[in-house]
Symmetry: C2
């Protein structure tokens, strides 16, 4: 009998479950579709030099006091006194090219900081879906797809994005999945993919953003493969994954 040489790809629904999953993974893809990781991907592709994810408003304020450009979001809204929130359109501003930006959000930046115990952390979204998958396929490493969830709870849009990635990797036959969460995510993605907008109509976070008139942001975040850049965490800063890892779609 041949040994099963496939690497594992698994889905963790939220940071609260991370402790149960973190062992033995070499790469973690952090996903917060609405909107932190979509905004980070947009920013890095737009030429932002680096994005520094911080977990608390207090940390963000210290950077602001030091003269940094600081983006801060809580509960879907820009925090008073900061430059902008986590709208991807803010991160597409040409003025940010070459600059450092500090970012704190309700869920996404917290998930990034929790993921740090895994050697390599990259940022995924629907926007850079195929690029991330192509790169993962080239790595031959065990992969954890970490949804940021909503305040530690499961959420639909991150699960769909993680399910889409798991599906591509498993279909390649280079990866296998053993966790029920991965089977469920892949299944939910396959059912949602024909019409993501209608599938997510009932999702709690989409309802939250609709109330805040953020429908344009939602459209941006739910459109797959508009970007090719993969942000990677290096020394606590998110930068563009370069050279030897470079992927083209």
């Amino acid at each position: 009998m041949r040994t099963d040489q496939r690497k594992r790809v698994e889905v963790c629904f939220s940071p609260r479950q991370f402790e149960l999953y973190k062992d033995s993974y070499e790469i973690c893809v952090v996903i917060d579709v609405l909107r932190a990781t979509s905004a980070i991907c947009a920013g890095i592709e737009n030429g932002v030099k680096e994005i520094i994810p911080v977990s608390t408003i207090e940390d963000a304020q210290r950077y602001k006091d030091d003269g940094y450009i600081v983006a801060a979001e809580r509960g879907g809204e820009i925090v008073n006194g900061f430059d902008f929130g986590n709208s991807p359109y803010s991160f597409l501003d040409p003025k940010l090219k070459g600059k450092s930006v500090v970012l704190t959000t309700t869920n996404g930046t917290k998930a990034i900081n929790i993921a740090k115990s895994i050697p390599t952390v990259v940022i995924g979204s629907l926007n850079n879906l195929d690029s991330v998958c192509k790169w993962l396929l080239s790595q031959n490493k065990n992969v954890l797809l970490l949804g940021s969830g909503w305040k530690d709870k499961f959420n639909l849009e991150d699960t769909i994005c993680a399910g889409a990635m798991a599906d591509q990797l498993i279909e390649s036959r280079l990866f296998k999945a053993e966790e029920d969460s991965t089977i469920a995510a892949k299944f939910i993605y396959r059912s949602a993919r024909e019409n993501m907008f209608s599938f997510l109509r009932a999702s709690s976070h989409r309802r939250r953003l609709r109330k805040l008139n953020l429908n344009e942001d939602v459209k941006y975040c739910l459109t797959p493969n508009t970007l090719t850049t993969i942000p990677i965490l290096e020394d606590g800063k998110l930068v563009r994954l370069e050279s030897k890892h470079e992927v083209t779609v």
Copy 2:
């Protein structure tokens, strides 16, 4: 505009998420399809006087030393030195009629003990699905459906059972759901219902039980509506829900 008078029904995937969900629910249905809550439902319908759920082997041993009949399961197997594990067939033994049985299992009994902060705790399974739903519809209370998961992780079979219950309650228009976990559970159930066995072929726990030659148990646990009894937690003991709450299917 009429006020929305509907009660809430939500799904919590595992005990680890319970803290995030427990507020404001008046009834908790604890679900561990493979196999603890299926066995409890079978036992109570069979005439077992009461089932005492305990979380640890040490607690179970103390009851055993006091002369109780004690069932103990860990990792799918009977714990050495105890009378039986959590096979529903063990709980159908006619010798258990009128007796007290103590039970500890890997996931289910732990979930029951965690659920105690909600005023009313009942036991659900696919076996008593319609009875539980009919009773919940008669209660006009907010309901949390708590999956026991597998060692705090999400599992498919508990989610499908919870999704089936949520679906019935929401379809009645007496209940509404707001959490993404509930939307996902309902959706997974609807896709799985035509062929539960094939859907669950890949599930991690089913694989675990198959290795242990427990396919007959799996068949029993995955067959809906073979039982009508609802076990309810009273003073730390699971007994038959009686008289004023009695339901018939």
